[in-house]
């Protein structure tokens, strides 16, 4: 593999990461991965009305409230991030 190729792959990856939220990388930790999955899930719940209604029935809340709750949970879906280890 030549140096220019490597540069290419890296830059492509970076491009992907910038374009598609949630594209992973080699140093991704468990927390980041989980946060992504959770945010994707919440966005999917909000997008699919039948699922949103299903949750609303289970919790006996209005669909509008349920949508708001899911959007709110996208801020910190998995609680606080772990403390960073020294780079």
């Amino acid at each position: 593999m030549q140096a220019s190729d490597r540069f290419n792959i890296n830059s492509q990856l970076e491009h992907l990461q910038a374009k598609y939220v949630g594209t992973g990388h080699a140093d991704m930790n468990r927390f980041e991965w989980a946060v992504n999955i959770q945010r994707d899930s919440y966005a999917s719940y909000v997008g699919h009305h039948p699922i949103l209604s299903y949750f609303a029935i289970a919790e006996n809340e209005s669909i509008g409230r349920e949508r708001y709750n899911f959007m709110q949970k996208m801020l910190l879906p998995c609680g606080l991030p772990p403390e960073r280890e020294d780079d």
Binding site: D40, A43, H49, N60
Partner: protein, 1211 residues
């Protein structure tokens, strides 16, 4: 196994709704998205909502918006869906279709986090649209017109911002300045990095304005300012001369007016006095109404209270924001204020309402204002109010909605010809049990007893130009009774009809004379009262008659036909005689075609199992044109002419055609196309209607000719949105019928049955089911049928509500308080007070008061569906709620059938599932099953979500444990258990010694019980994680399931594995002990997979037609019912597979989602043909239909016949 999927009842819930003028001019229409269906509704002159158009789009519609180009007269529809495309639709009034004007791809398909489609914002002047995702991406499209005034759309302009969650997007009204869009945004980038939690707690929502510079063709962030952290929704405020511009930010507890360079104007949303302090008030839907001189907003909270919001402003400075209590209606997902003075509220759950404005809330009422906003140390001072009866609105119509269907069972409890569908629908106080029957609803207008048992009935007009019928003529075995229709219906004797003889036919002849055919002759009554009689030759009598307005054919006993025509002077002249080979069974003449002298076709049915088409043209009179042999003797004939149509509101594009319908003695309706020139017969279809030979009558439905078939139950054949539908009527057996039109009832039917004369109208054309509703108290969860006793036992439970006694107490208190207050006030209030007493705060309207989330109310109800009476209702006490139910016969048979109910106390889902106790109650049936008595209750260590009888014992799924119980004197006795299930058991089915257990996340587990070793063990499971919401046992090796993501699938244990297990003396136990991949040693195989696009909550195998093949019926959260039918021949599979393939190619779905991708959204579709797509075939243009038909080596007619046949197999 190959299945055919067909939606029987389209989704009835509404995701979002918009109103505008989509057909142009002054019309007001509502476009509603019902998940995967787009409907156009219109309130008619009587204030009834009519569905004009309904299109299945095969994609999830998430948002709708409408816009109007400046100077244009109609609105376009923008659809935000899961297709990764923006779609602009135009309603084509002439053809009654949505035309796709533009479809622009911008991203991947599916409801994804960063692919736009969730939000739509429209520039109020119709110059640009912004489509946004939940996170990051926002795209702006510029809308314009080209030289020929067609709508153009630009390439997208990006307004992305990374790491930002978006809550709402709207267009800001700034007149003809550059378009501006507003969004509520929350940046999470810092919160994700900061492990101390400080950044997260400081995270702040911002209101951001994006400006589209039309000159530079560029979008920039114009302004961004902090906004209340509870903000969830934006509402556009009129601007550009009509108002101050800017936006209303709806936040938890507050409404805030914001605009660039303007200080915030904030007011609190009034709270219900009984609301727990920890609960906020959130606005969930909003509507703006703008007139020339004023504008106001209607905002609805999550509890259903509607507030009127007004702004006091001086040009663009807003001085005061007022929130006044308006009325309370059920919580809606969208509100639409129509210019006609109507409010359409699309309910989240349950029936939708159309309300009329009585007032616009100008009377004094509880009001909060920005001017009186008080800030204290604990925050802003709340304003309280008490909900009251409707004052400003009055409900004038409701649209039925089954949403959500919680459980469903199909059974013939009423012992009718077809089974009934019992479905539990709705939520909280608006729940109901709905009994659905296939067929059209009718409304009975009058029933009157007659002096004898009538044999036939006719209606006649006095003149062809009359709008209404003049007489009802009833024939008895030896007399004829004439009733005149006026204000009332009464007997007359001056009509000229012979009343001492039975009649064979009564009709209008020529322009203005009447004809009565009786066994010995024809009586022709001229308009001036002259009577001409024609007598039969010799002793022969007339047996059958066929007539239209200008031609009459009578058949004499022995088989002679005599043909009469009305000549120029209005005389009835004998033209021709013809001898048939034997007696005539039935005959009919086709109606006179428009602008012609006579009809060419006479159909004669004979007892030798044939029908002949005879010519009535003078040059070949009584020549046989064609002949059709039948399977049994014909009993009744009817020509039905279908007029040519080029589409429009109730027909698709099709040429004129003539159908000959024959009712056979075997109960079959035989339908055949008659060539309008040559009289040749082709394209025969037959359908079994009932146990009696169908009698056919022509009636009018929506101004068109339709057919009423009276067999052991009545059927109506009519054309609806381009389809010919033959649907049963939910009515008793009728003998004879005629169309009926009078002042009170424009399009009715008069019929005789027994000794009564009945007048009725047919309602809600186009619907498959008619429903009977029985209200329930709380959200129904599950029910069991007791087929022998014909009773239902239903469990209902609601979270976060007060128990019945507490509610009653607080209501009393509230009434007393209100009464005190009102007595102290003026007399004026009394008017409203009286209304309140009629309807003392019905829970259905206002919802139950909210309690803390660990409070539960629940009840067990025994219901007799025939009398709709609740024979026993047990309220559970102390936060106990019922979740599962089954009937069980323990093997010692001491008590007979018992009822087991699984309950939990103080269940909470959040932050972690917890409960204080869980029980299994055992009830015994008293008073012939009409009442329940608690035998004992047994505490268990998990929530019992599934119960089932198994070999004279009770199987219970308690959390992850499957346990077998036996009945003891004081409690249930544990016999055996298996703790190896992954999560929570939510369904148990049993068959012989196998147990099929459904897990909430992990699909099915097949188990066996070994009695000798007293052991339960899992011998097979699924390799795919499935979040089960519904399950049904199909056969020994096969289970059907529905998952949370909207898929239906079938799994089957491979035959060799199944045999091996059955033959193995240890029942696969040795293998079981080994296991495989952390699971059971055997894996089931997926044999069918299909994405329904809606959460399936219940499944049942049943046949909806007598003697028909069984299909799998499913019900969904959005309130739709569908069926999966197994194909019975390989040819059909091939045919429908190819038809589906061509439809996918030639007719891609309306909202841009690829059909195959949609049906394979989570797993690739397997062995299911989508009938909903195939059934769109008749809506295609003629040339496309022919093209597809050619490819399939068939004619379009044959394809339609196939589609009709397969539908008739299901319902």
């Amino acid at each position: 196994m190959y299945l055919y999927n067909l939606t029987l009842q389209q989704a009835t819930g509404i995701v979002c709704a918009i109103n505008g003028s989509f057909s142009g001019g002054k019309s007001q229409e509502i476009v509603v998205a019902r998940g995967k269906v787009l409907d156009l509704l219109r309130p008619d002159d009587n204030g009834k909502i009519q569905t004009i158009l309904s299109v299945e789009v095969f994609g999830a519609i998430r948002s709708l918006a409408h816009f109007r180009l400046t100077g244009a007269h109609k609105d376009y529809i923008v659809v935000g869906s899961d297709s990764g495309r923006i779609v602009i639709l135009d309603y084509n009034k002439e053809k009654n279709v949505f035309d796709k004007i533009h479809q622009e791809t911008f991203g991947k398909s599916g409801c994804r986090r960063i692919v736009p489609g969730q939000y739509l914002g429209i520039d109020p002047k119709g110059r640009a649209v912004m489509v946004g995702a939940c996170e990051k991406q926002k795209l702006v499209y510029v809308l314009n017109r080209d030289t020929s005034a067609r709508l153009t759309i630009s390439s997208p302009l990006e307004a992305h911002k990374s790491h930002t969650i978006v809550y709402s997007i709207v267009g800001v009204d700034c007149g003809f300045d550059n378009p501006v869009f507003a969004a509520i945004e929350l940046d999470y980038s810092e919160a994700d990095q900061d492990s101390t939690g400080q950044a997260a707690s400081e995270a702040q929502k911002h209101l951001t304005f994006y400006e589209l510079d039309l000159g530079l063709n560029h979008v920039s962030r114009k302004w961004s300012e902090q906004v209340d952290n509870g903000a969830n929704m934006l509402v556009t405020v009129p601007g550009g001369g009509d108002g101050p511009s800017g936006v209303l930010v709806c936040a938890e507890n507050f409404v805030i007016y914001k605009n660039q360079g303007h200080p915030d104007v904030r007011a609190v949303i009034p709270r219900r006095a009984d609301l727990p302090a920890e609960r906020g008030v959130l606005i969930v839907s909003a509507a703006m109404h703008k007139q020339k001189s004023m504008f106001f907003f209607l905002l609805q909270t999550e509890y259903g209270d509607v507030f009127k919001v007004t702004l006091d402003h001086d040009n663009d400075r807003v001085s005061e924001l007022k929130i006044k209590y308006f009325d309370t209606i059920p919580v809606s997902s969208s509100l639409c204020v129509l210019k006609l003075g109507f409010l359409f509220a699309a309910s989240e759950f349950g029936n939708h309402g159309l309300y009329q404005f009585q007032a616009i809330g100008d009377d004094p009422d509880v009001e909060s204002s920005s001017a009186t906003l008080m800030e204290t140390e604990e925050g802003f001072q709340p304003v309280f109010f008490q909900p009251r009866g409707l004052k400003n609105l009055v409900r004038i119509d409701q649209v039925e909605s089954l949403m959500p269907i919680m459980d469903m069972k199909v059974s013939n409890l009423f012992e009718e010809e077809t089974p009934q569908i019992f479905s539990l629908c709705g939520r909280g106080p608006r729940s109901s049990l709905r009994i659905l029957r296939p067929g059209l609803a009718i409304s009975e207008m009058a029933v009157s007893q007659l002096p004898g048992v009538p044999s036939a009935v006719w209606t006649v007009k006095k003149n062809v130009n009359d709008e209404f019928d003049a007489y009802i003529v009833v024939s008895f075995t030896n007399a004829t009774l004439v009733l005149s229709i006026g204000e009332t219906v009464e007997e007359v004797s001056d009509s000229g009809f012979l009343d001492t003889t039975p009649s064979l036919d009564v009709s209008l002849i020529g322009d203005d004379s009447l004809m009565q055919v009786h066994p010995t002759g024809i009586r022709h009554i001229r308009e001036d009262g002259r009577i001409n009689e024609w007598r039969t030759p010799g002793k022969r009598t007339i047996v059958k008659v066929g007539s239209n307005r200008l031609q009459v054919v009578v058949a004499l006993s022995g088989g002679e036909l005599i043909y009469f025509e009305v000549d120029m002077t209005g005389q009835l002249m004998e033209v021709e005689k013809h001898e048939m080979s034997g007696d005539v069974a039935c005959l009919d003449i086709a109606p006179v075609p428009e602008g012609r002298q006579r009809s060419r076709f006479l159909a004669v049915g004979s007892y030798d199992n044939t029908i002949r088409i005879l010519s009535l043209d003078p040059d070949d009179c009584m020549q046989i044109l064609s002949l059709q042999s039948l399977s049994s003797p014909p009993d009744s004939l009817l020509f039905l002419e279908v007029q040519a149509s080029i589409g429009g509101e109730d027909g698709a594009d099709h040429p004129a055609s003539l159908f000959l319908n024959t009712g056979l003695q075997s109960g079959v309706l035989f339908r055949i196309v008659v060539d309008m020139v040559t009289g040749q017969l082709s394209d025969a279809r037959s359908r079994f209607l009932g146990l009696r030979a169908p009698k056919l009558f022509s009636v009018a439905v929506r101004g068109r000719r339709a057919m009423l078939c009276l067999s052991s139950r009545p059927w109506l054949g009519y054309i609806h949105q381009g389809h010919f539908l033959l649907t049963p009527l939910s009515y008793e057996t009728l003998e004879y019928a005629a169309s009926f039109s009078s002042d009170q009832c424009a399009e009715g039917v008069v019929a005789v049955a027994g000794d009564a004369l009945r007048v009725f109208t047919i309602e809600r054309l186009g619907e498959t089911f008619n429903e009977m509703t029985i209200p329930l108290r709380y959200t129904p969860r599950k029910f069991v049928l007791q087929p022998k006793r014909k009773l239902l036992v239903i469990i209902e439970s609601d979270q976060g509500s007060f128990a019945a006694e507490e509610r009653e107490a607080s209501r009393k208190e509230c009434f007393e308080a209100a009464g005190m207050g009102e007595n102290g006030k003026k007399e004026m209030e009394n008017g409203g007070d009286d209304e309140d007493k009629d309807d003392p705060l019905s829970d259905e309207q206002y919802g139950y008061p909210k309690a803390e989330s660990d409070k539960w109310v629940s009840c067990i109800r025994v219901l007799d569906p025939r009398t709709t009476e609740t024979t026993c209702l047990l309220e559970l006490q102390d936060n106990e709620a019922a979740f599962s139910i089954c009937t069980v016969n323990f093997h010692d048979k001491e008590y007979g059938t018992l009822l087991a109910v699984g309950t939990a106390k103080g269940l909470q889902f959040w932050p972690k599932r917890s409960f204080s106790a869980a029980y299994i109650h055992i009830y015994r049936f008293m008073k012939d099953g009409r009442s329940l008595e608690l035998l004992h209750k047994t505490q268990v260590d998990g929530v019992p979500l599934a119960l089932s009888q198994f070999q004279g014992r009770l199987l219970a799924g308690i959390g992850p444990v499957l346990r077998l119980y036996d009945l003891g004197k004081r409690r249930l006795l544990r016999k055996c258990e298996n703790k190896l299930f992954p999560n929570t058991i939510n369904s148990i089915h049993t068959y012989r010694d196998r147990i099929y257990v459904g897990d909430v996340q992990e699909s099915f587990h097949y188990c066996k019980y070994r009695r000798d070793e007293n052991q339960l063990y899992i011998f097979a499971d699924d390799s795919v994680p499935r979040w089960l919401t519904a399950s049904y046992h199909i056969d020994f090796d096969t289970m059907a399931g529905g998952d949370k993501f909207g898929n239906i699938y079938f799994v089957r244990l491979p035959q060799d594995v199944s045999d091996e297990i059955e033959e193995d003396p240890t029942g696969g136990k040795i293998k079981w002990e080994q296991g495989k991949l952390n699971g059971a040693p055997n894996k089931v195989e997926e044999i069918v997979q299909f994405h329904v696009g809606d959460v399936v909550t219940c499944l049942q195998k049943a046949s909806l037609i007598p003697g028909g093949q069984e299909s799998l019926i499913y019900g969904t959260v959005m309130g739709s019912l569908g069926a999966l039918l197994a194909f019975s021949s390989r040819d059909d599979v091939d045919f429908f597979n190819h038809l589906e393939m061509h439809m996918r190619q030639e007719h891609p779905p309306l909202c841009g989602r690829d059909h195959m991708a949609y049906r394979s959204a989570y797993f690739p579709v397997k062995d299911v043909v989508d009938g909903d797509l195939c059934e769109q075939f008749p809506t295609l243009p003629m040339d496309l239909q022919r093209k597809i038909a050619d490819e399939l080596d068939r004619t379009p007619g044959e394809i339609l016949k196939k589609l009709e046949e397969i539908r008739n197999k299901i319902v």
